[in-house]
């Protein structure tokens, strides 16, 4: 009796999990099917013939690799800038006392919730005025608007978790404040920095609206808007090709995800994740 109930629970639970994951499974299956099999009715659940032709065409005949390169540069640059500035800022917010500190923390949380559409028009005008429109730099600047508050908020809670005694001990031993930061705080904070960096990278990798508005040339276009251009400009939509692009676009996320497993819960515990 107890056994059969457990089996039933497992079947239902896994049924639900698989239903949620089905669109992702279908994405991979579609990307591997040859053209003629795609339009067969009823559809085949697993491809009868596995083909990598769509991946090959994606890499050789479309600007996919260019978009991919742009996305890698964009997401990495955003992560480095944001985590660098954010680590110093979080250290200051948590461990120093000065006027205006509380209101700054308030401002960080406020901007963390701010909608992008409010900032997008002034930012667009700003980039046009600076002559930066259609560059990856303009996107890095725009991405700090959501990534910096997010990273600061996460790092701030990681920083608060480091016992203050450690730093005091180093100071008593004659270390300078910055020396203590480098030798005591940074090593302790490293897991937090890694997890913040991974989350920031994902945010930047997935961003769409700023890329849509600020960049209008293939030279600087990241994957998100690039792949959508492939959908819109195609005469008839090639779903296999688009699914192959979707899979390729998710590969870095899967790699990050594998890294993230151990850091994941830490990030969520420390201050939720932006959506």
């Amino acid at each position: 009796m107890k056994m059969s109930r457990r089996i039933l629970f497992n079947v239902i639970a896994w049924g639900l999990v698989l239903a949620v994951a089905f669109p992702l499974f279908w994405m991979i299956v579609t990307s591997l099917k040859p053209g003629f099999e795609l339009f067969r009715r009823p559809p085949t659940m697993l491809p009868e013939t596995v083909t990598f032709e769509h991946y090959w065409r994606l890499l050789s005949e479309t600007p996919f690799l260019l978009y991919f390169r742009n996305s890698v540069i964009l997401a990495s640059a955003t992560t480095v800038v944001v985590v660098g500035i954010g680590t110093l800022g979080a250290y200051s917010l948590v461990r120093f006392r000065y006027r205006g500190r509380e209101s700054l923390a308030f401002l960080v949380l406020f901007t963390y919730l701010l909608p992008s559409v409010v900032l997008i028009i002034p930012l667009y005008l700003f980039m046009v005025k600076l002559g930066l429109s259609n560059t990856i730099t303009s996107l890095v600047i725009a991405y700090t608007t959501f990534a910096l508050p997010y990273a600061l908020w996460l790092l701030r809670s990681f920083m608060a978790g480091i016992p203050e005694d450690l730093e005091s001990a180093a100071l008593v031993d004659g270390a300078s404040r910055l020396g203590a930061f480098r030798d005591v705080i940074l090593p302790q904070l490293l897991p937090g920095i890694i997890s913040t960096a991974l989350f920031t990278f994902i945010l930047a990798w997935n961003e769409y609206l700023y890329a849509l508005v600020l960049v209008n040339s293939d030279g600087a276009r990241p994957l998100t808007t690039g792949v959508m251009t492939m959908l819109i400009s195609a005469f008839n939509i090639e779903w296999s090709l688009l699914m192959a692009a979707s899979v390729m676009m998710s590969v870095p996320l899967i790699i990050v995800f594998a890294f993230l497993q151990s850091y994941l819960t830490r990030g969520f515990g420390a201050g939720a994740v932006k959506g």
Binding site: R41, F110, L152, L209
Partner: protein, 298 residues
Amino acid sequence: MATADLSPLERKYARLGIVLIGPTVLVFCAVIVYPLISAIYLSLFSIYTPTLEGEWVGLSNYAELLAKGEFWSSLWTNIIWTVGTLTLQILFGVGMALILHQNMIFRSLARSLILFPYFVSTVVAVLVWRWLFNDLYGILNHFVMWTGASDMPVDWLGSMPNALLSVILVGAWKYFPFVVIATLARLQTIPDSLYEAAKIDGAGPIARFFDVTLPQLRDVLVVIIMLRAIWDFKEFDLIYLLTGGGPVTSTQTIPLLVYKEAFALNQMGMASAYAVVMMALMLVFMILYIRRTQENEL
């Protein structure tokens, strides 16, 4: 705290603290505070996007906006979308968290699979769903006709109310994992002794859920609902990419209206006015959330 009371060392530290926060403050002023103020300023002008030339019109953008049917219908759609998708996210998210909290085989694999929709790009999610929704070859329509629920392929995105329901459904699929993780983290901290006490009192599984689990989850659920309400309300990518606001304007929310006004109708001043009104509406939720977070920290 007056600066005069501080020792020289403390004053030196305060200065160092300000130097360290300096880059953050600079970036904040340049890319957030300045654009925010100029959004409000721009909303008082009438600006033609291609030439960027404009003239002062004062508050007339706001007067026009409040008299427009399109603003009110977009606001209404925005509210339906937010309430609809948030309700599904919470119900499905808490349900899934309760399941994943139990002993099941390959639990960590199941958890990773559930998280995936949340981490893939909205672009990927939308492409996959548009393929699933495809009227001729989409697997959903095949399934619908195979079960006999309908003789005709369903037009998932091109007609109402289907389009709005589809958008709400995809939104729930994409964002419910957030609810799962946050709830799961809280579930793991509920002490077993509470359940044992309830068991001794003769409470069944359902009574235990309502008497022990739910009250324990209350605080975290309030936070999740506020955060997700803010994020769902301002959602642009998912709706824009799935339906573009269509058919006609049936799924157009305020963020889409801002984008359309600024970059399709080329009225930047008017678009800024929409954006400012939207922010004012969200401010209530934002302040509620910030208040709550600060209370928790004290």
